[in-house]
Symmetry: D2
Subunit: 342 residues, 4 copies
């Protein structure tokens, strides 16, 4: 639609499209409204009819298998706002915290220290996907309550994982950003439910999922009604065993050409090794990611899960301090890009 | 327990173990009952105490991360019975049918023809996991009803996919064997629910899941109460693109050394190419698999999904006929193995 | 050319093609001569001109990046004869022996026993590609002499590896079949030299080479003058670690659709595990391979290399005996195929 | 040896070690000489005997399969000097130029422009490894002569590929840095010859080679007498097809923990896509690599090879300019690290 189209004009266009048998999904940008159309029907007739309507700026046929998440659909970057923190904008956002919520003391201590070091959101798992049925499966709702307490104490919004469509409502009550783990990236029942949950979604790339499949999974969430999706590179599975996974940082740059969604990197899962986290974090800044998801734990060697890849809180603070000059360059680059895009 | 242990004696042993703080899970074999124990506690004391009880044959500590599904737990092969058909026994069992249930005529025609050609179970998808939100998602409950009608008409038990823990009860009403797709192999919420569903489970290996992870996922189902799990090799994701996936047939032989669960091969997804299905099926027989899961469709070029890898019904019948001499050798081999194991 | 074209007629056609600026390469089959043409020029004019010549049966444009090795170039199967043994014909050919030639007693003992068990060629490494510079690098020429002695004693032709274009002449003096190892599949200097060596070549698929790349490497050898190339599947590198490599048996079936060259399987390197060799060998028979390359050693636990995947000589004999009924089915299948192709 | 050990004292120690049956290889650092020992023998006796000798500072047993290339062997970083340019030191070194040398005008123009933009070495292929035998195979010696002319004109040292041990002497006459391509990383005959060639070696990681295998291949060159080896990450082969390869930048950080050798990144081959080269180059700076190997061509769309991943000369200059602030941060980081190591 043209920049100053009224709600009534927009509604009129939507009705016309629906007469052709298509489903309609509109995204409100800052300047204008974009109406996405999916389904099977007489495309040419529909395009012509719509383009003839007043206040319609342009009607374009998009052929990529993903539509709403593509750069063709929205050339600029999307900003997803999580509890007041904007991701995909002018700030490089670090989310940090322990792999699992273990007890009140642990999560509060971690929250306070990561906040002090500059993290803007708190991560912590209450429902844990574990390869073995005999491993710690998370504190579940009790864990969510502890996260809520940490939010009260520190003001940090909460990022936590949801593993089943059955749990979406419960977790959405507590969390500010619902994380889909790598193993659930193609859990389509979950993705559809998240499309209707009203909270932003952090979608991690599957261990062996292509960039295209990641975008298709994001498309599921958006096409089912939720445009607030953040993508996360966390390493893919390859033959290499020196690192836990292979961090596809070039893939982040490739994604940035294909999608307007915010992109973050999880250097902890990507490497599985604490000592590599700072270097990969620097590289994520340099490649142009929008933020980081980092594991930090008061006492990694006592963590119930993923201790080897967690920084301790002092190491996290050191890393944040050393990242600053790189983030300063990142900001200059971001400003230049945004200016160029206008 | 010893072969002739009574229910009371078994119950007595279980109670003793539980006093040590462990969780207990018993599997009833044909000759004897095996009691699996998981948890954290004083292992040595528990072992000694139990071994001292009457009717206890042996108490063994198993160290593999999977227990119930391991050869150490049960040296012989498990037979899973699906609607009267035994898988993992002396018969090589072929399950066949279309990728998706499309309409009554299609599924009835397919069912009749695959039955005539020698298939023992009917496969057909009602809930479809599709990479794109815009692709056909299956007829859902309507599809289940059509499958039930096909069972009435042909007597073939039904194999169909379940994608969410929310759907387990519904699908278990209709299906004889609940299939977990490759993308859900580590959907732990689903696996736990299937542990309590009372119907056998067909667990497909994930695209990038190791053999050990496949066994751990099977362990989830068994440890949550359901010993009737069949594993399915359907190809893994590699760099090679000449075939849709890379069929890890040697992995089936490796699995057979590690687990007592029945093992089947899906040559259709493994190759993605109709012309390769007969050769891979022969190889699956030769490698010692317990059966096949094959896509066969009345008219593959009109299939709503996976047409390129579906045999038509005539091709399926030809393949089944040509497989017979190989299956005859398989039976001789199986008899020799079983005799050697006794 | 037509079946009864004379040498003079053939030469005449070749000259005409060369006038168009193309390079010519002719392959003499049993019934007729096929002339392959590569290069850049006026294709249409050349095709028309040639087709108009007497004794030319057909002029076809082939577009695949590989030409001489493709099924389009030669629809039937090629038979490569190694020291009197035909591979790619009506016999399933097993090549066996130790990974490395270690001493006279070892190689003679191995040769006698594998011959007795039914192997038709003897494998043994004199020049060894080793990941570490500190591992045994082979007996080099001394090893070749020991292999020659084993050939005298048993009549078995010799298969051995060549690692550098510098060694081709030396090794071609002793060996009947020159093996290119997986790590050298794209050593193009070596491939070109083998194109001129006058002895058949066994080309192993690279650890991460696609089927298309394997065919391109074979094309190098053939295009440089040597049509006697046998391809070998020996497992590819994937994320799975339960087996040393992932044996792409379906890839063998895919190759058989694309090329007329003989195809063999190396179950020892493909699995890295002795106990899996018999099952994978059966599957190779069933998939339709033309033979096997198997490691067998008098005393695997004392082998200087690859002991874990070597059968001992008794195990090899047992496997050969148990393979017989499967090979009988293979022969029936081969006869039917050959009849169908005529 | 202690910092001020004399040649005679060093020679004395070497003789003692050789009496134990070991092979000795010494590396002269700036401050002291380190003597590496490999072979099989009575380790304990040898260690004790040597440690008792005057001027021996310490005798340590190293267990990693690679020795000379490990951080245990030399804790600081190695600087390799190529035609006066130090790699692995305080300067971030960019090597650039076209994939193939095509003609005098092309290579001279490219050399002048990359020099002007800040490149310190000129890359260009004269011997080209090509998947297809029908693709351009390089100008060979004629190409080397053109590279030499470009060196005269610009002062830039020359980096070029060697594909066969047979060509090492010829190429070493012209080149300042001999490149081993990914497909030859385990061409052990070539590696051994390069150990004796007297020129520095640039060893590219194989498409499916692990970090450990890369280090083992470097060990081949060093153990055969050449300590001047630079390692290059150029992307590994995975299931992802959105980029030509998957650039393992975290692997560079992992390598830096394991080896003292200089590490560079080839963003052109790693991504296969021109538009991604600047972002990956920034990330390589941030991860702490020692330099870049970049394809830049006067007219990429007319390049005989790899045009899609080549920057044009203007794009290269822009990238170099935009990299400067990141390289400034890199230098500060390098200074801090070096200071910390002292």
């Amino acid at each position: 639609m043209k920049p100053r189209a009224t709600k009534q004009e927009i509604q009129h266009v939507i009705e016309r499209i629906e007469e052709f048998g298509y489903k309609v999904h509109s995204i409100e940008g800052e300047e204008r409204v974009v109406i996405g159309v999916v389904g099977v029907g007489d495309v040419t007739a529909c395009l012509e009819s719509v383009e003839a309507m007043p206040q319609v700026e342009k009607a374009v046929r998009i052929s990529a298998p993903y539509k709403f998440v593509s750069r063709e659909f929205r050339p600029g970057k999307t900003q997803v706002v999580v509890d007041g923190v904007e991701i995909g904008g002018d700030e490089f956002v670090v989310m940090a915290g322990p792999c699992s919520v273990e007890n009140e003391k642990q999560i509060l201590h971690a929250a306070e220290e990561v906040a002090r070091a500059g993290a803007r959101l708190l991560r912590g798992g209450a429902f844990k996907p574990r390869t073995s049925p005999y491993d710690f499966q998370g504190l579940e709702e009790e864990g969510l309550k502890l996260l809520a307490r940490a939010r009260e104490a520190t003001g940090l919004g909460i990022v936590t994982e949801v593993m089943s469509d059955r749990d979406v409502d419960l977790i959405a009550e507590y969390a500010d950003l619902l994380q889909v783990g790598a193993r659930n990236m193609q859990n389509f029942a979950l993705l559809k439910t998240l499309g209707r949950c009203g909270k932003p979604v952090l979608l991690k790339r599957g261990l062996s999922s292509t960039i295209k499949e990641l975008l298709m999974s994001a498309e599921y969430v958006v096409a089912h009604g939720n445009p607030n999706v953040i993508l996360c590179e966390r390493g893919i599975r390859t033959f290499e065993t020196a690192t836990r996974n292979t961090c596809d940082l070039a893939g982040v740059a490739a994604l940035a050409e294909l999608t307007h969604l915010p992109l973050i990197v999880d250097p902890s899962h990507a490497t599985g090794k604490r000592s590599l986290v700072p270097a990969v974090s620097r590289a994520a800044v340099a490649i142009g990611a929008d933020g980081l998801l980092v594991e930090a734990h008061p006492c990694p060697e006592k963590a119930v899960s993923d201790g080897a890849q967690s920084l301790d809180l002092r190491q996290f603070a050191t890393m944040m301090r050393e990242l600053q000059p790189w983030i300063t360059l990142w900001k200059q680059m971001r400003v230049t890009e945004t200016a160029a895009a206008v």
